[in-house]
């Protein structure tokens, strides 16, 4: 098939998404728009974890930590000095925190960059560990981030966190970043570097024997994943407008892991589909937590029920469909065209 057709189709798909967003912005209510925003952020997070775990085989449970870093950095940069005066009640902010300012786009990048920096710092020692040890160690890192955020009130306002973060993250920003993440990670996993990452995932020792500098590639993948996790955290902060250390518990990592596993480890299409499906499902499950009335009889809302269903779903997926929705397969234009019988020129 000629190279032009997929490019054309991509442009069309992006245009269709743009049209849809334009329509959504004008005709959907705030709640539905919020769900769409969450979908975009969750896709970013899932793609970044999929790069780390699905494509490189690094079982990382530190996503909440990177998200927290991105969220705090971005919030500090977009809160105005007057707001910071009001927020830092316990102790005044450090001078540089008080005066740090950046436009939203740069603030998000800064959030990602600082997260990536921490990814490198943490990855250098930890990426030598295998499998579950790496998982526990990165989980430890995320917990340390949370405890530290609780204990440096001059930087993070301690347990109170930030309120009233400017809500710049609208549909356009979120989906823009979502597309950018998808593009970057897609290019990466399809490149030669991506092949090396997959080789490391499939058999690290064999990759090493082939002369691959395994550690460097692991670090690369880990820090890029951390960057996009930071970006996701930054967007989330601006989306929900309040953050505090409690928000970045292990549950957050669990949700992202759930999306990646359900979608299929090593399938970007899977992450996107599961990102949409699971975010919508999680919102829909809020129904079971709200009181339901049948005429005069009322079923009281049960807090926690949502996560019961959710974790049960994860167990069922891992027991009965371990490869997830897509396995390692991807949906591509070429594949779709072939399916409808279109035969292009041979490559």
């Amino acid at each position: 098939m000629s190279r032009k057709i997929p490019i054309l189709l991509n442009v069309l798909a992006v245009a269709a998404l743009g049209l849809f967003l334009w329509w959504a912005e004008h005709s959907l209510d705030g709640y539905k728009i919020q769900i769409l925003n969450l979908i975009a952020v969750n896709i970013i997070l899932a793609l970044s974890l999929n790069l780390i775990y699905g494509f490189t085989g690094l079982f990382s449970l530190g996503h909440a930590g990177f998200m927290a870093i991105g969220a705090y950095v971005c919030s500090i940069l977009i809160l105005s000095p007057e707001q910071k005066d009001m927020l830092f009640l316990l102790e005044p902010a450090y001078d540089w925190v008080q005066h740090a300012q950046a436009p939203f786009f740069l603030a998000v990048i800064a959030g990602g960059a600082v997260a990536a920096l921490f990814g490198i710092l943490v990855g250098m020692p930890l990426l030598r560990l295998g499998d579950d040890y790496l998982g526990i160690a990165t989980l430890g890192f995320a917990e340390i981030v949370r405890v530290v955020a609780n204990n440096i009130p001059r930087l993070t306002n301690g347990a109170l966190g930030f309120k009233g973060i400017p809500s710049h993250a609208n549909l356009w920003w979120n989906f823009g970043w979502c597309l950018l993440t998808l593009y970057c990670i897609l290019r990466l996993v399809r490149s030669n570097t991506g092949n090396v990452l997959k080789a490391i995932r499939d058999d690290e020792i064999a990759a090493k024997a082939m002369g691959v500098d395994v550690f460097r590639y692991k670090l690369l993948s880990f820090s890029i994943g951390a960057f996009f996790a930071g970006v996701g955290g930054a967007l989330l902060a601006s989306l929900v407008t309040t953050i505090d250390p409690k928000m970045f518990l292990f549950t957050l990592t669990f949700n992202v892991l759930m999306i990646v596993v359900t979608g299929g480890l090593g399938s970007l299409t899977g992450s996107v589909l599961a990102g949409v499906g699971i975010t919508a499902l999680l919102e829909w499950l809020r129904v079971v937590e709200n009181p339901i009335s049948f005429g005069s009889w009322e079923l009281p809302g049960i807090p926690g029920m949502r996560m019961v269903f959710f974790s049960l779903a994860l167990i069922i997926v891992i027991l009965y469909r371990r490869e997830g929705l897509m396995g390692m397969r991807e949906v591509s234009w070429a594949g779709m065209l072939a399916a409808i019988g279109y035969k292009g020129k041979a490559q």
Partner: protein
């Protein structure tokens, strides 16, 4: 710091340490046999405490009976979890079972939130555990003696089972080589179930004593002690029961003594264990008493 205060801190660390050790044993036994970090273990710990609470408040059981029943029920639960969530994944990649364990952990936690509600509850303490004894200047809660003593007895019992009985021989055989154990006629699945049962019983005992010592029950009460106990197991050398005991007690000491001597670090208390974990994994990944596994190609 006065001598009396120091002795009190010492006893407190011993209490906390032995509770960590009891949980750590469960982690280390399961890891030793299946190479699985049983995330649900911290929820087992929590449920053990809750079962006693419900036994006392709902059914008005006498105290010792509630204790024994709770331990039994929790042990059974541990076995059931293994049968449902881990056994089908024995031949799957290790991480699959780990994800399943994380799922079970969240499931139990949220089931507890749904059924027990998130309100903290206080467990009843018999007065003979509560009335302080004065030894010179040292004020002693009988609990701080009772907890390490009972823990010690339980550990002795466990060591007897593992090193002096046939079932224990089976456990040790499986942890060396599961395939060969099958061939040698070890009833592998039964032994694994037994391991989960014993580990869960010890976690329940620890949860009950935890609830006596820090009398607040919450559905998320298991999370932090669970993580720390796992770290204690890694610290001592995962797979080794003696290591879990040593690691647990040492972690208890590190936590209490650091806060006692550097009160300004109190806010970071929950991070000590994780920092410790990262350092151990980097410099001595086999822990204090662990054996280095060979890399098989």
């Amino acid at each position: 710091m006065t001598q009396a205060m120091f002795i009190q801190h010492l006893l407190n660390s011993l209490t906390l340490g032995s509770l960590y050790a009891l949980i750590a044993i469960g982690y280390t036994m399961v890891y030793g046999i299946l190479r699985l970090i049983n995330f649900a273990h911290s929820e087992i710990f929590m449920l053990g405490a809750y079962f006693v609470y419900w036994g006392l408040t709902l059914v008005h059981l006498p105290w010792p009976l509630a204790l024994a029943l709770s331990i039994l029920v929790t042990a059974g639960l541990g076995v059931i979890i293994d049968q449902i969530a881990y056994r089908p994944l024995r031949d799957a990649p290790r991480i699959s079972a780990l994800i399943s364990a994380i799922g079970v952990s969240f499931f139990l936690q949220n089931v507890a939130i749904v059924f027990f509600q998130a309100i903290p509850r206080e467990v009843y303490r018999p007065s003979w555990l509560e009335d302080p004894i004065l030894l010179g200047e040292v004020r002693l809660l009988p609990l701080t003696l009772f907890v390490p003593a009972l823990s010690f007895l339980l550990m002795l019992g466990l060591i007897y089972v593992v090193y002096r009985t046939k079932a224990g021989l089976g456990m040790r055989a499986i942890s060396k080589d599961i395939e060969t154990s099958y061939l040698m006629g070890v009833p592998v699945n039964r032994i694994i179930a037994l391991t989960f049962g014993i580990g869960s019983a010890l976690a329940a005992a620890s949860g009950i004593m935890w609830a006596l010592r820090y009398p607040q029950l919450q559905p998320i009460m298991g999370v932090i002690p669970g993580f720390k106990a796992f770290i204690a197991a890694v610290f001592g050398g995962i797979g080794s029961i003696h290591g879990a005991v040593v690691g647990g007690v040492m972690l208890g000491f590190i936590e209490i003594m650091t806060v006692a001597f550097f009160p300004e670090l109190a806010g970071y208390r929950d991070a000590f264990a994780f920092v410790l974990l990262i350092f151990i994994l980097l410099f001595k990944p086999t822990g204090l008493l662990g054996v280095k596994p060979e890399d098989k190609v």
